[in-house]
Assembly symmetry: C3
Homo-oligomer: 146 residues x 3
């Protein structure tokens, strides 16, 4: 994984993060955010993967169910954000991927093994959009009430 | 639904709109655009829903067909715009959602019941990208000829 | 296809490109980039199509496989970039589309016949994110090492 700051405006930075073959994207993005002290940002990505673990929030158990896919996949869209959670930058992203037969799968991104590349654009956002744990679901949701 | 202006540059505003449990997102976004006089903007969102109505433009009837899904869904991507239509701000968005088995559905967004959250970023755009009704389809399409 | 520059900040331009009925979007976007000398940009789009050719990078042959769909489709998301490849601007985009039954298909965009419209937003990026051919796959990948 290599990251490059490509822009800055009003103190808000834009980074391009390029993942390499076999990088685990979720962990690497979290590490990138820690290293560069990115605490509030939006992110998008395109690229491809050879494995992915997708989460689905299951109301009946009030938790994520995970499904793993081990196959070559096109990353069709990846949209998410970086926000502080318990004082540390946390990545939250949803992903859609394309299979060999052009059908698609998607969910909450839990892990992704890059192959051969994943290009992520990270745009810092000005507001400290703090997240707060929602007692009903246990999920960290953006709290604009502060 | 709560909206917060998080940025302004050259008179162009960026808002974060956070929807709450059981909010109907399409109507709330339209109401938000009216209240804040947002007449030209792009929007993206992530979150989750417990119901959605998807439109598909059917050439054979030259109109949208609607399909309703009532189940917990991850909002994988939501891309759209706000533009003036008959003098009022109108929301146009396309959405992809993930199901329990990681398969995906999608279409033209007609309505969506949020659960537990939907985070929408609205970026004002400088041009008044006016829409004009296309006589062949009856759809309002962006008109750059003016 | 009509293109309009709607914004400029620090020398970085934002364009809206509106495709017309029956335009082939991939070729038109490449032509647009050449005409306006756009050599580094991100792009997103929404709209609809009456045909699309989707690529899938097949590891077993180390090349793209193409699948063609001829039917009315909603363009749910289109994410990509423009970068120099052998000195010329090249478009790279991934797309997700919605079918009549609300199922979705997607892949690497090879061609798309617009119907009735496709609205593309092109945002120039400051860095010259040069691409370099990866010898293992033959793909042009962004190279941040330079």
């Amino acid at each position: 994984m290599r990251a490059k700051q490509v822009y800055e405006n009003d103190g808000l930075r834009t980074f391009v993060v390029v993942m390499d073959k076999d990088d685990e994207a979720f962990g690497q993005l979290t590490a990138f955010a820690g290293e560069h002290r990115v605490t509030a940002a939006g992110l998008t990505a395109v690229g491809a993967a050879r494995a992915v673990t997708l989460g689905y929030f299951d109301l009946s158990i009030c938790d994520y169910r995970s499904t793993e896919f081990t196959e070559q996949l096109e990353v069709l869209s990846l949209v998410g954000d970086i926000a502080l959670k318990d004082g540390e930058p946390a990545v939250h992203a949803h992903i859609t991927l394309g299979r060999k037969d052009s059908s698609t799968i998607g969910g909450h991104l839990q892990s992704l093994t890059v192959w051969p590349t994943l290009e992520v654009v990270v745009n810092e956002t000005p507001a400290q959009l703090a997240k707060k744990v929602d007692p009903e679901t246990g999920l960290a949701l953006i709290d604009l009430s502060g």
